[in-house]
Symmetry: C4
Subunit: 502 residues, 4 copies
């Protein structure tokens, strides 16, 4: 990209609004993105809608700082915009913050009794675009809804006549002390919901002694998110390996400098290619037909195309393997590795072979966002109990997806999960915020869930989450539905080598 | 508390309406409750709404006589209110009674054909607050609705060509003769539904020769309830052990004096801490925002908080154990003990080890009000049949929760239950009353259910409830859903001692 | 009853409109029924509504000719009404017939494609009272709807590459040739739906060579129904044994005179006491509150009370037994006996011990009208296949309840049923009639069902219903739900004698 | 038929509008069809509606060219119509094409994200008659909806950490290379949806390298459909054997001449008689009552009668058998045979005995159109895996019915299906076309489904469809529902001969 600082008028920029010459303004700088149109994940449509205009407001909440210069191929810097004649853009997010606050005639946050009510409020408050991205899941949302339903299929078995005055939810993740077995799963684009973004989440997590895994697609940099963390506050960092491995290595180096708080790398495996999230993709067609699209039309005629979710995948590698990727990663980090997205007992078993570098798996179907009709984490957990229970002793097993109630948390723990992640629920908690700020609302969500969890632990008749076990749950209904075929562990060729060494 | 009888004007009292100085009037006496605000179960909100006002109408139906002087810490008597300038309060309940009656344009009670129709009518007639308390159950009301649904999953097996002219529903509970296998489960706060309260229930029960278990949280004293009971009328008394054991002992002493009618102590185990009943808790926010809340705001910001259900738990002990509590109780009463709230076959088995002092268990998930997704009583009953059927010979097994039809009653009896308790259904029967008075309406409920039960017994082809047995029910659907894991009876450490002695 | 023929004016009769003196006019005769009020099944309410009035229109369609003189106790004939001053009553039914026809703006009957559409049309056309009686079933209508649903749970297994040009539905019932395996189950009160009543059904059955079982509670006499039957047309007669056995014997003697067509006695066992049919019972309260009810109020205050269904049970014996009743019946008839209402394999097994006098059982839960959550006939049929398949060789097994489609008929036959009865469907077919007359509409119903059955038989790849068998149906879903407990056949005391002799 | 070319006026023809003399005009020729009225499948009604009128518009889209002269008995050519005085008819279809296009204010096709959205759009656009024919299925549409639901009952088992950059969907059918495992099932009457008809489908299939099976009831001739096919484009031809076998032989001869593209004969077995498709049949009654119907009324009084589906069966043989028909067919064609409509493992097993002439079976319940509650193809596939897995090695097994998503395609392949057919979905894709033309819309459908399939294959962690297998699917829920009775393979008499020879 060039270096010139030519000042351009708004009118001048506005004329470059076609596929032949497409300029956009971002943070006061004007870029010629004509050559990038066909490169953009999700098609040229998303850009052409903003051709000749200031795209900052749309670009900002879904791209972390620094995205622009490093990643865009086919982009040329043209100059800077003459801001005097331009309506102020909300680059510092303050205005959007105020807007959210002013429209605020909502029920008092303390009257919200559960996560469903928080989601209902957030749905009213956040933009349709943010809602579409958060709400969306694969195909028919079957897995998304089954993720939660499967918890309803499990009955609790409360024991009585046991002293339940004490109740201890504290535990450890990979040896790091936390106050709660509930953590924040990596969920992208928090600033779509609220300008406080992932840093707001971090501040709330600090209050609860809760662990947070920072999304690879966070809308803030890891340094910003971890800034001012509480002593002993625990983070993980989610890695989507990039096609250009050197970019991932560079990122790991940045993470290593934050090792006081970031304690592990959470390598994401469950979405080597993006799933099909129709609610999200539909948003591409909102307003698109007002735009004069010329020349580039052809490549745009493919059906569907890129919602926010699709665009985030740009540059992500699809060629990861047990043999090569873990070896590469172990060379580039000495932090423990957590594998996210395991959905079969076979892969949980394989992961355990890579201990001690791999220290945990996060059973996840990506919130139902990757492959519809993929199994909920609880199915995988029950599969592990059935086919290879030794995995639970070798590594930690975490789960996410579908958590709405404290009883859900406890059920997962009873079945051997070390911890339970909140994804979508945290974002909706965020979005319900408004005037009170994101810390306050996520705090509500965490308070509610923590209280529900404590009540459940007490009513089961134990004093600590470490006393929970399978005899506290009736899983008959779920167990007859889990995979019942031959275990892949016995299938030659699945994993043929000796116990893997890194 | 002081003794002075200073007379205070309504205006004077009205000025003490903040967290800094909070007075309320109850039954004509003015109390300074500022020091009690942070003690009140459910937060200060419930009191501050009534600061400076006469709180009798709200206080009365949910606190039995005598609550005030003994229990409140941080309360000072200030004086008596100048009643001449004050609108009459309904302390004798007569006005509320009339109000209910006057608004009466309902269908004739004898046209109500089943318990659902009675509930529908009661829902229209009782206050939103009473409805919220009765209707509410834990979390998502899953257990509450499953309690009933599980009866629909069982098919009956009617035998034919058997003389069914005779039909005898009479049975005994702990040796006490009753005319019906249906009893009134302990359900709190009957006066919320109707001023006749628990005494009204007692009068109706007398007509049917039905047993009634008096709630520990009854809105009338046991003496009031048992007053004028019919000869041979059978009651039990429900005990929530208090943190301050001496208060429980004192209460037991009062009960012992009523032993002509109160035949056993029903020790409640299924709710050592309150469940989360959102319908009930929501009521705390009705109207609260008109009140100027100052100073004490912080402690009030916790989400949710106390509905009627939460407040009833105040002072209840959470440290009961098999070893200590039964020993303590056996020292303080010679009445037989019934353990209420057993939800696993393991606890039923343990209870049977304590025979003969423990003479029955009441399988109950507290009407779904304690822990959502707790098993319905019928699951526990089938568990007992599967893992430790000898329990049914050692002690009586009673069930409650979800009964709507005579066929439900019969199904429970077929599976070994000695009796079946009505909780919520009785309260709604109460609330549907209106002009006809509570006796009449509960009578309708009992008549309907008794007639349905008789029809069912006849159509199965037996003459007496004692001839019912498992061959009259097809439980295939339910049986495949009950707990199928290892029995806790075999797990070392669950109960390691010799057969317990008290 | 008296004999006098005193002529009474309408005004004079109208004054006897209270519980103290209650007269009603029936077919031109005035009766004093004061003494009968407390005897009437369903309470005095049903009569008091009509006190002082002409009750013929209400009485006629639900009482067969001859009911009045023989059965009513506490009834005195007062005189005859002065018809000159009276509005014509519809005793000959012609007017009601015309009324039905005139209101006729319905879709052409030949556009009705299935039984559901016929029911929908009938629901519009027949009186609310008739609809309530036909539609009603026990309690929550669970068995009624499950009766049909269970057929949907069975999959067919069509075989291919088989010549299906021939298709023969003809079969025999107890050796009597019929053209269809579908028969008309005994269903009471056909004249409620249409003045042509059971005789109309008989004429339609003749066209299809279908068997008809005449209800004990038919609204016409057996002689009227069988009148002009086609050569070889087959009927059965349903017997509800009366408390006064001599009345049943007298009736059997009348039936024996019709033995050219009535080929067996269908003894009904599934309803020794009436079930609770709330839709039907509700009708008692329609308009009742306009009537001045005095004196007799008390006995009327019982909830619910008698719909049409309840009233029909008046006089029916509840003391039938395997030992005594079959012996009594075999002494009083030489016709073969069919036992209707068998709902367990145990009773089917017992019935088979009484062959050859007992030649068939009709598996039936009375259309779900007797005991709600009683098993559908198909459950009983599968139970028989599992526990005592030899029954299918010893006697014929018929089923009814829930048939809506030809595939339902075929599924029952595949599982061993000899024939399949239509009850409610036939009555609704009747009610849809209107202008075209009852023959025509029932004909539509039969045509539709026959055509569906033929199509199904052909598509399964067989030529005759006698080639159907269990390998043509997948019953996995139903089989896991049927009774799985110990068979009552092994339980001592169930049937202890030697093979029974009559 | 006669030869005269007498010119008739519109008025003259219009007078022959009764059952006594019924003329219709088709493609400018006037026919006397009085003698054909009682021959017409579906009754005379369908013709009488058009008596005296030009019937071309109704006749054309459901009868392929050439139908008229050869097949109609009782038809006499009367003359030609005087077209000068006649409104132009749309024989060349151009007008209807324009109409469809002009009414076009639909969402852009590229915004349609899945097959459901295409169906929703098509439902709006195509005629009620076409919709009724396409949408209709047997009886209550149970099988039709279960066909899809059964795919939802299967969970996927995605494997992680596997390189999924490559993704190959190409496969072979009977040795013929295709780019997709998805083919177009034979579905009749494509011109009802769009004038481009089956030829439009062929052009779209070419773009995707997809196989197409031409319906025996196509609305175009095979020659028209195959015209201008791409090199290597693969077709099959569906055969409904005619009663008059010589007509089928003549048709086979025509097919043999197209053997460059038509590679096999798909003999249809699942509909030897038509099912009952009520949506379709209802259309017969639209407008019929405006017509004066005289004389022929009687035969028309049968309920229901012929929709489009019924009419298509006219002339089809119902006497096919394993022994005779395959022998006859093998004498008349040397093309490989595919048997369509197999619904049991027994018939799949028998089919495999006839290899190598029979080279594949297409498991199909005719889209739920033949016998309602017939099993979905996936049940049959699982039956084969359970009872006779060797079939999968001897012949290819294809499936159709219920496919809506790429995950459905992949699930079928995992369980051993070689390919998956689209029927109704293709037609609805067709009907959504409008302005863009049929190629474009079917292209959208195929693009969407192909992309979904690729995403699924990648997320399961395989590179080619040939690597899919049962360990990628959890079929626990479905497997407990499939046929569990004795296999017909063991039943004597089912197939008694030696391994069949043709």
């Amino acid at each position: 990209m060039g270096d010139e600082a030519k000042t351009l008028s708004v009118d001048e920029v506005a004329q470059h609004n076609t596929g032949e010459s497409c300029w956009v303004t971002l943070y006061g700088t004007v870029y010629d993105v004509t050559g990038f149109l066909d490169e953009h994940p999700g098609g040229s449509r998303a850009i052409l809608r903003l051709a000749g205009k200031d795209a900052t407001e749309e670009f900002d909440p879904i791209h972390p700082p620094g995205t622009l210069d490093e990643e865009m191929v086919g982009v040329t810097k043209v100059g800077t915009i003459d801001t005097s004649a331009m309506p102020k853009h909300p680059s510092n997010s303050e205005e959007r913050k105020k807007e959210i606050e002013e429209s605020d005639r909502d029920p008092p946050l303390e009257s919200l009794l559960n996560l469903d009510e928080l989601e209902a409020l957030a749905t009213k408050k956040i933009s349709k675009r943010a809602w579409s991205y958060y709400y969306s899941a694969g195909d028919d949302l079957w897995s998304k809804s089954f993720n939660n339903q499967v918890y309803r299929q499990i009955l609790l078995r409360p024991r009585v006549f046991i002293d339940c005055t004490a109740c201890d939810l504290s535990t450890t993740f990979l040896g790091n002390k936390v106050d709660l077995p509930i953590f924040i799963s990596p969920a992208a684009m928090a600033r779509l919901a609220h300008p406080d973004g992932e840093h707001g989440i971090a501040k709330a997590a600090a209050k609860f002694g809760a662990m947070q895994i920072i999304s690879n697609n966070a809308s803030m940099t890891p340094e910003q998110i971890v800034d001012n963390a509480a002593p002993g506050q625990v983070f993980g960092w989610q890695l989507y390996v990039q096609k250009d491995r050197s970019r991932s290595v560079a990122m790991l180096d940045r993470i290593h400098k934050l090792r006081e708080h970031i304690k592990f790398i959470c390598l994401t495996l469950d979405a080597p290619v993006p799933g099909k999230r129709e609610h999200d993709e539909k948003m591409q067609f909102e307003g698109v037909f007002d735009v004069s699209v010329s020349g580039k039309g052809d490549s745009d005629k493919r059906p569907g195309g890129g919602g926010v979710g699709q665009q985030l995948f740009w540059g992500t590698a699809g060629d990861l393997t047990w043999k090569t990727t873990l070896q590469w990663l172990s060379k580039n980090t000495d932090l423990p590795i957590v594998l996210k997205g395991v959905q079969t007992h076979e892969d949980a078993y394989l992961a355990a072979q890579f201990a001690p570098q791999v220290q945990a798996v996060l059973l996840s179907n990506h919130g139902g966002r990757a492959l519809d009709t993929a199994p909920p984490a609880l199915h995988t957990l029950l599969e592990i109990r059935k086919y290879c229970p030794e995995v639970l002793n070798k590594i930690e097993v975490w789960v996410d997806g579908g958590i709405r109630r404290g009883t859900d948390v406890v059920k997962a723990l009873c079945l051997g999960a070390r911890g339970v992640g909140l994804g979508r629920a945290a974002l909706f908690g965020l979005g319900a915020g408004g005037q009170a700020g994101v810390e306050r609302t996520l705090e509500i969500a965490m308070t509610v869930l923590k209280a529900e969890t404590e009540t459940c632990v007490r009513l089961l008749g134990v004093e600590s989450v470490h006393q929970l076990g399978p005899r506290f749950v009736n899983t008959s209904v779920v167990e007859r539905d889990i995979y019942n075929g031959p275990s892949g562990l016995d299938i030659a060729g699945l994993w043929t080598g000796p116990t893997p060494k890194l």
